[in-house]
């Protein structure tokens, strides 16, 4: 196993009296493709939000690439190389597709490099990313003109523009057709082959099984399984969580 890129230890989060996450331990190795599943309300998105800094965890710690993230704001974590795509696409509606990609280049990449990319470099990066996701011919369009699958691709392209070490794709395939799901999984695998560690949170099991090298299951804010995908889905506890007693 490669060195860890992400280490979550004893992480806990409450919303008032409701325990959303309790004692979550999770280690993700560099270059790994991890699937994270669980029924609705199991705490998957809360975990992502705690890792990315959108929510503050009450207990435990998150370490990214050897750095403790306690007290670090979301944009600071992004600048370290942690990118995420959202469950519902959140494009910058007033900007063209190309400008949506430009933002992380201007802010995250420039900050990490400590120098400014030139206009030509920004243009090249935008073009390359949009070609990769298949949106090169729509770079002058606005998000409102895109289809659902294109919107998802834009979301992934914008996350990729951060030049991430870790990409967290939160239900990137919700609402897509079978062939569109296939496209997105292929895209995520391509990104992983380029050296990006990917955590995929998803309900579509065919996509999860095709994508994941390791599978983690959350139920009611607790981790109940972690291991080889084929073994995990046969785990009686996982079957109980999904199918009932």
């Amino acid at each position: 196993m490669n060195a860890p890129i992400l280490e979550v230890a004893g992480l806990g989060k409450r919303f008032g009296g409701f325990v959303a996450l309790e004692g979550i331990d999770l280690t993700v190795a560099k270059g790994e493709r991890l699937g994270l599943i669980g029924p609705n309300g199991s705490g998957k998105s809360t975990l992502v939000n705690c890792i990315c800094g959108t929510l503050t965890n009450e207990t435990g710690s998150v370490t990214f690439d050897g750095q403790d993230l306690a007290g670090m704001l979301t944009h600071e974590r992004t600048r370290l190389g942690m990118a995420r795509s959202f469950q519902l696409p959140r494009p910058f509606a007033s900007m063209t597709v190309a400008d949506n990609i430009r933002v992380p280049l201007l802010y995250a990449v420039n900050a990490r490099r400590g120098s400014k990319l030139t206009e030509a470099q920004i243009g090249d990066h935008c073009g390359e990313l949009l070609r990769l996701v298949g949106l090169a011919d729509r770079m002058r369009h606005y998000p409102r003109d895109l289809t659902q699958v294109d919107m998802r691709k834009l979301e992934l392209a914008r996350a990729m523009a951060v030049e991430p070490k870790l990409l967290i794709a939160d239900e990137a395939m919700a609402g897509l057709s079978g062939s569109e799901v296939h496209d997105i999984v292929s895209l995520l695998i391509t990104l992983n082959e380029r050296g990006v560690t990917v955590i995929l949170i998803e309900h579509i099991m065919s996509a999860v099984m095709r994508f994941s090298q390791r599978l983690v299951v959350l139920v009611s804010g607790k981790k109940i399984a972690d291991g080889n995908p084929d073994d995990v889905i046969r785990d009686p506890e996982v079957e109980r969580a999904y199918l009932g007693q």
């Binding site: 704001l73 979301t74 944009h75 995420r84 910058f92 900007m95 201007l106 900050a111």
Partner: protein, 317 residues
Amino acid sequence: MRSGTFLIVAAVIGAVIFAIARVIDNEYVFFAGYTVLQYVVLATAWNILGGYTGYVNFGSAAFFAVGAYSTVFLHKLFPMPVPVLVIVAAVVSGLVGLGMGYLTLRLRGAFFAIATLALAVVLQTLVVNWNYVGGSRGAYVIRPQTIELFGSYIQYLFFIMLVLAIVALATARAIERSALGYGFATIRDDELAAEASGVPTLKLKLVATTLSGAFMGMAGAPFPYYIGFLQPQSAFGLEYAVNSIAMPMIGGTATWVGPLVGALLLGTLQQVATVTISSAVNLLLVGILLVVFVIVAPNGLVGLVKSAFASKAGRKK
């Protein structure tokens, strides 16, 4: 057009405007022109926060008044030339903007708007109870009749406001085309996605509140010399808060052109209405126009023109 070239072109246009006003040789032109230009600065300043980042400021009058009262304070303490007073007002109002930004960092939408309104009420209460700057009874600031180079003092004030308008417009335009402009737009569109893209949203909000406040204060700094007698009701007047919002909304908030068009149109209309009908009808006019534009052209005149061009281009295809 590069920012330097834009500044030169704007300066040339400004020089032409000033020359024409001098040729007309009527003091009223300078009085009316000063007010219109003052609104160009106020509307542009409001748009830096309200238009670019989407944070609606209902307390423009407070920043304008901070600028005006810093002039009154210094006029009594240690009289200085107006350009210096403008710079001091920018610093003071900018700091008030920064403070407001800090206090309202986590507020959004209507809550932010209400907080800015509250700031105006708090500052007005402070000024009303501050005797040194005249308190509720007001303060006289007698301007000299003449000044070297310009002759009439009102021409001098007009010139200062013209320069401020050019600086405000050039700054707004430069922001729009910079990384800062992209950052502001991401805040307006989606703050969560902005943070996830590496944009330091809290820091940029502070930059926006500071810049916006500073320009509003600059607009207010020469005001005591213009009006001669400053009282809280006039410095914190409703017309500043309403016009600062209405002018960019009517012109269009997405670009620097919108506040300019809105301020020129509405400011001129108000001056004409003041002379031909009554000064009391000003805000009624603004209100009617604002309602009409919100319904008919929510993106303002600039948006209306853009969509007309877009549909024309679409028909050609």
